[in-house]
C-alpha cells in the first residue's frame, strides 16, 4: 500500500511540472507558434522562485518572481519572434541556451555559489491539507496533502479547457493557429493573440519552474529543468494540443520516471533511467500508428 501510494505520489510529482509547462505550450500551439522555449522558461521560473522566496522571505513572492522570470523570457521571445519576425525555432533554441547561461551566471553573481543554492531562508510552497478530502477512503491520502501547485495545476488544466474551447479568447486563439490571415481580416490582430498566448505560456512555465525549485525540493540547481521542457513539448505535439491528452502523457511520464527507479532492483540503473524516454517513443509509436490507421 505504501509503495503503491509512493508510486502514485511520485507520478503526481513527476507529472506536475511537465503538465504545467505543457499546458503553457498548448496555448502557443493553438496560436500557431512553434515554441520550444518551454525548457528555458521553466528554468528561468525555477531560478526566479528561489530568488524571490529567499530575498522576500515569502513563498508567494517566490511564486511571483518565478512568473516574472519566465515571463521575461516570454517577452524576449515576443520581441524576436513576433515583433522582429525571427524564426521561432531559432529563437527558442537561443532562449534555451540563454536561460542556462543566465541562471548559472546569476547564481554565481548573486549567491556566489555554483551548482546549487540551498538555504533555510528559502521558504517552500506549502502543502494543502483539505479536511474534506482527507476523509475519502483509499484516495483521501493521495488527494489531500499535495503541494499547493498540484491543485493549481488541476485548476490550470480545467481553466485551460474552458478558456481554449469555450471563450471568446479561445475562439480567436485557435483561429490564430488555423488561419492567421483570416483572423487578421476579422479585425483581430493575430500578433496580439500570439503575445497573449506566449505570456500565458510564460506564466504556466513559471509555475512549473516554481514547482521544481520551491515545491518538490527547496533549492535551485543549475539546469534543474533537466529536459522536462522538451518532454512537455513532445507531449503537446503528440496529442495535437489536446489538454486531456497532455494530462495523460504527463502522468505517463511521471509514472515511468518513478518506475525507472523501482526497476533498479532487476536492471542496471542506466537502463532504468531510459524508461521515460522509451515510454515517450512508445507513445509516439502508438499515436503515429493510430493516425496512420485513421488516414487509411
Amino acid at each position: 500500500m505504501n509503495i503503491f501510494k509512493g508510486l502514485i505520489n511520485g507520478m503526481i510529482a513527476g507529472a506536475t511540472p511537465i503538465l504545467l509547462a505543457a499546458l503553457g505550450g498548448t496555448y502557443t500551439y493553438y496560436a500557431g507558434i512553434f515554441n520550444i522555449a518551454m525548457e528555458g522558461m521553466m528554468l528561468a521560473g525555477a531560478f526566479g522562485a528561489v530568488l524571490g522566496s529567499y530575498f522576500f522571505h515569502s513563498w508567494l513572492a517566490g511564486l511571483l518572481c518565478a512568473i516574472l522570470g519566465s515571463t521575461l523570457l516570454a517577452l524576449i521571445f515576443i520581441l524576436f519572434a513576433v515583433v522582429l519576425k525571427t524564426d521561432e525555432f531559432i529563437t527558442g533554441i537561443a532562449l534555451n541556451l540563454f536561460a542556462v547561461g543566465a541562471t548559472t551566471y546569476l547564481l554565481r553573481q548573486i549567491f556566489a555559489v555554483k551548482g546549487a543554492f540551498s538555504s533555510p531562508e528559502i521558504l517552500p510552497i506549502p502543502r494543502l491539507h483539505l479536511a474534506g478530502l482527507e476523509k475519502v477512503p483509499v484516495l483521501g491520502e493521495i488527494l489531500s496533502g499535495q503541494n499547493l501547485l498540484v491543485y493549481l495545476m488541476l485548476a490550470a488544466l480545467l481553466l485551460s479547457v474552458y478558456v481554449i474551447f469555450k471563450t471568446r479568447f479561445g475562439l480567436r486563439l485557435r483561429a490564430a493557429g488555423y488561419n492567421a490571415p483570416s483572423l487578421d481580416s476579422s479585425g483581430v490582430r493575430t500578433a496580439v493573440i500570439r503575445v497573449w498566448a506566449l505570456l500565458i505560456c510564460g506564466v504556466l512555465c513559471g509555475l512549473a519552474g516554481a514547482y521544481l525549485s520551491l515545491g518538490y525540493v527547496t533549492l535551485f540547481s543549475e539546469n534543474m529543468s533537466a529536459g522536462r521542457g522538451w518532454i512537455s513539448l513532445a507531449a503537446v505535439i503528440l496529442v495535437n494540443g489536446n489538454p486531456w491528452g497532455i494530462a495523460l502523457i504527463s502522468l505517463l511520464f511521471g509514472f515511468t520516471d518513478g518506475l525507472g527507479l523501482w526497476l533498479q532492483q532487476s536492471l542496471p540503473s542506466q537502463f532504468t533511467a531510459m524508461v521515460p524516454y522509451l515510454a515517450t517513443l512508445a507513445a509516439l509509436y502508438f499515436y503515429s500508428m493510430r493516425r496512420k490507421r485513421l488516414a487509411r
Binding site: V163, K166, T167, R168, F169, G170, L171, R172, R174, A175, Y178, N179, P181, S182, L183, D184, S185, S186, G187, V188, R189, L294, A295, R296
Partner: protein, 515 residues
C-alpha cells in the same frame, strides 16, 4: 458638390524595392452605389482595396470618410469605421463552423469572456434571414461549397454592419449559374443602402452590375466612368491600352492514336470518401481535352492520381500503351509533362536558382546533364539549358543564377512551361496553366498550347476559366462529384450547357442552387 462619402486621394504605394503598385490614384465612392474597379492582372486593384481596408500602408495620399481624414492601421479599424472586405482568396477558418467564422472578432460574450453561443447563433440566423442567404450556420466551413463560403464572407461583413463592402473578384470562383444569384444579393444590399466596391476582370459582369467603373492600368487610374455611358470596347481599350483581337482558333488536324487512356479509375481519400468514381477517359495525339468542373469536384484528386502522388483504388492508367497505374513518379515523368496551378507549391522551389529549377526531372531522364553514371551533375549543360529556355520561351531574366522567386509571375510560368515541354513527352497534363497570369502572358501560353497540339501531343487541360476551355479544347469533359458526367465536342457545346453540368451533374437543371 458636398463632401464625398468616401474618397481616396493621391494614393501612392510602392513595394520594396521598386514596384509601383499604385501611382497617385484618386477615386471617390458614393453612398449606395456599386462601384466596379477593373484592370489587368497586377494593375493594382487588390492593392488599392487593401490600402482602403488597412491591410497595406500607403506611402502617401489620404483617405476621407464623410469628410473626415481617416487612417486605418488594421482591418479592425476599417471595420469599426464601417468598411469591410471579402478577399480574392477566401479567408475563412475551415475547421470552424459557419457561425463561428461569422462572429469571429466580434463575438457576443458573457461572464469571464465565455462565448455566448446561443446569442451568436441567434444573431447569425437573423442576418441570414434578413438578407435571404441560404446557409446552415452549423455547417463546417471546410465542408461547404465555394459559393457558400463566399456568402459566409459577405455575411461576416453584414454581421458587422458595415456601410461599405469590398469584394475582390468574387465571381472568379463561381459557376455561370451562381453569378446571377450573387448579383441579386448585391443589388439587394445596394437597395438597403450599402456601398459596394466590386473588382473583376470580366467586363460583361461589370457592365451588368455596376453604377460606376474605375479603370486601373499599371498602377495608374485611367478613368472613372458612369456605367451607362460606356461599353465593353471602350473599357477594354482603357484597360489594356490597345484593342484585344482574338486570333481565330486554328483548325484541328484529325487526332491520331490514343495516348492517354484512363479506365475505370477510382480513388478514395484518407477519410474513406470516394473522391474519383469510375473515371474513363481518352486523349488522342493532337487533341486537347478540357476538364470543366467546379473546384473541389475531383480535379485535385485526378491530378494527384495521374501524377502518382496518391494511389488509385481501382482502375488503370496507360500512356502510349504503357501501364503507369502503379509506376514510380520518375517512370511517369518519362511520358507525362505536368504544369501545375500552384507555381510556388508544386511547380518550383522558389528560393533555388532558375537553373536549378529548370534542371528538375531532366537531371534524371537525360544523361546529357550528368557525368559519372549519373552521380555528378554537369553544371555547364544545366546552365546552357536554362539559357535555351530563356531564348526559346522569351523569358526575361537577369541571369540564370538568380533566384527563381525574383522572376515575375508570367516569367516564372514560362520557365516552368519550358522545363516541362522540353521533356518532349507525348502527354501533357496542364492544371490551370494561366492562373494568375496577365492577359499578355495568357495569350502566349494559349498559343503555345495550340502549337503543341499541332505537334501531335496529347493534352489534358484542367481549367476553372470556361472561356479558356472553350477557346482551346477539342472536347470538354465535365467533372461532378468525382464522376465524369459529360464528354462533349467543344464546337457544339454551349457555355450554359457546361455550366449546368458542372453544377448539377446533368443537363437542364430546374433552377440554380448553390449547395
Amino acid at each position: 458638390m458636398s463632401v464625398p462619402f468616401l474618397a481616396m486621394q493621391e494614393i501612392l504605394k510602392i513595394f520594396p524595392p521598386a514596384v509601383v503598385a499604385l501611382d497617385r490614384v484618386s477615386v471617390e465612392f458614393r453612398p449606395g452605389e456599386i462601384h466596379a474597379v477593373v484592370g489587368e492582372n497586377g494593375a493594382g486593384k487588390s492593392t488599392l482595396m487593401k490600402v482602403l481596408y488597412g491591410l497595406e500602408a500607403a506611402n502617401s495620399g489620404q483617405i476621407q470618410l464623410r469628410g473626415q481624414a481617416v487612417q486605418f492601421h488594421s482591418p479592425g479599424q476599417a471595420i469599426a469605421a464601417g468598411i469591410g472586405m471579402v478577399h480574392q482568396e477566401i479567408l475563412l477558418v475551415q475547421e470552424y463552423r459557419v457561425w463561428e467564422n461569422i462572429v469571429l472578432g466580434l463575438e457576443p460574450a458573457g461572464w469571464f469572456g465565455r462565448l455566448d453561443e446561443r446569442q451568436a447563433l441567434r444573431s447569425v440566423q437573423q442576418k441570414i434571414d434578413e438578407f435571404h442567404f441560404n446557409l446552415d450556420p452549423l455547417a463546417r466551413v471546410g465542408e461547404i461549397s465555394v459559393a457558400a463560403r463566399q456568402k459566409v464572407e459577405i455575411l461576416k461583413l453584414l454581421y458587422r454592419n458595415v456601410a461599405v463592402l469590398i469584394l475582390d473578384e468574387p465571381t472568379a470562383v463561381l459557376t455561370p449559374q451562381e453569378i446571377p444569384q450573387l448579383f441579386a444579393e448585391l443589388r439587394r444590399l445596394r437597395a438597403g443602402g450599402k456601398t459596394i466596391l466590386f473588382i473583376s476582370h470580366h467586363l460583361e459582369e461589370v457592365l451588368e452590375l455596376s453604377d460606376r467603373i474605375t479603370v486601373l492600368r499599371k498602377g495608374r487610374q485611367v478613368a472613372t466612368l458612369e456605367t451607362s455611358a460606356t461599353n465593353q470596347a471602350e473599357l477594354s481599350r482603357l484597360m489594356i491600352g490597345r484593342e484585344l483581337a482574338r486570333p481565330p482558333r486554328p483548325a484541328a488536324a484529325p487526332p491520331g492514336q490514343p495516348v492517354l487512356e484512363v479506365e475505370g479509375l477510382s480513388y478514395r481519400d484518407g477519410a474513406g470518401r470516394l473522391r474519383l468514381q469510375d473515371l474513363s477517359l481518352q486523349v488522342r495525339a493532337g487533341e486537347i481535352v478540357g476538364v470543366a468542373g467546379v473546384e473541389g469536384n475531383g480535379q485535385f484528386e485526378l491530378v494527384n492520381v495521374l501524377m502518382g502522388l496518391n494511389p488509385p483504388e481501382s482502375g488503370r492508367l496507360l500512356v502510349q500503351g504503357h501501364d503507369l497505374t502503379r509506376a514510380e513518379i520518375l517512370e511517369r515523368r518519362r511520358r507525362i509533362a505536368f504544369v501545375s496551378q500552384d507555381r510556388g507549391r508544386l511547380g518550383a522551389a522558389v528560393r533555388a536558382t532558375i537553373t536549378e529549377n529548370a534542371l528538375m526531372t531532366h537531371h534524371r531522364l537525360n544523361p546529357r546533364f550528368t557525368r559519372w553514371r549519373g552521380w555528378r551533375l554537369e553544371a555547364r549543360a544545366a546552365l546552357q539549358f536554362a539559357r535555351r529556355i530563356e531564348t526559346q520561351f522569351g523569358v526575361s531574366m537577369a541571369s540564370p543564377e538568380q533566384p527563381f522567386q525574383s522572376l515575375s509571375g508570367g516569367n516564372q510560368q514560362k520557365v516552368i512551361l519550358g522545363r516541362e515541354l522540353l521533356l518532349e513527352t507525348p502527354f501533357l497534363l496542364l492544371d490551370q496553366p494561366t492562373r494568375g497570369l496577365d492577359v499578355g502572358s495568357m495569350e502566349y501560353v494559349h498559343e503555345l498550347i495550340l502549337t503543341l497540339r499541332a505537334e501531335q501531343r496529347a493534352i489534358l487541360l484542367i481549367s476553372a476559366d470556361l472561356e479558356e476551355l472553350f477557346r482551346l479544347s477539342d472536347r470538354i469533359v465535365v467533372l461532378h462529384r468525382g464522376r465524369l458526367v459529360a464528354d462533349l465536342p467543344a464546337v457544339s457545346a454551349s457555355l450554359e450547357q457546361v455550366g449546368a453540368l458542372m453544377l448539377e451533374g446533368k443537363e437542364h437543371p430546374d433552377g440554380p442552387q448553390a449547395d
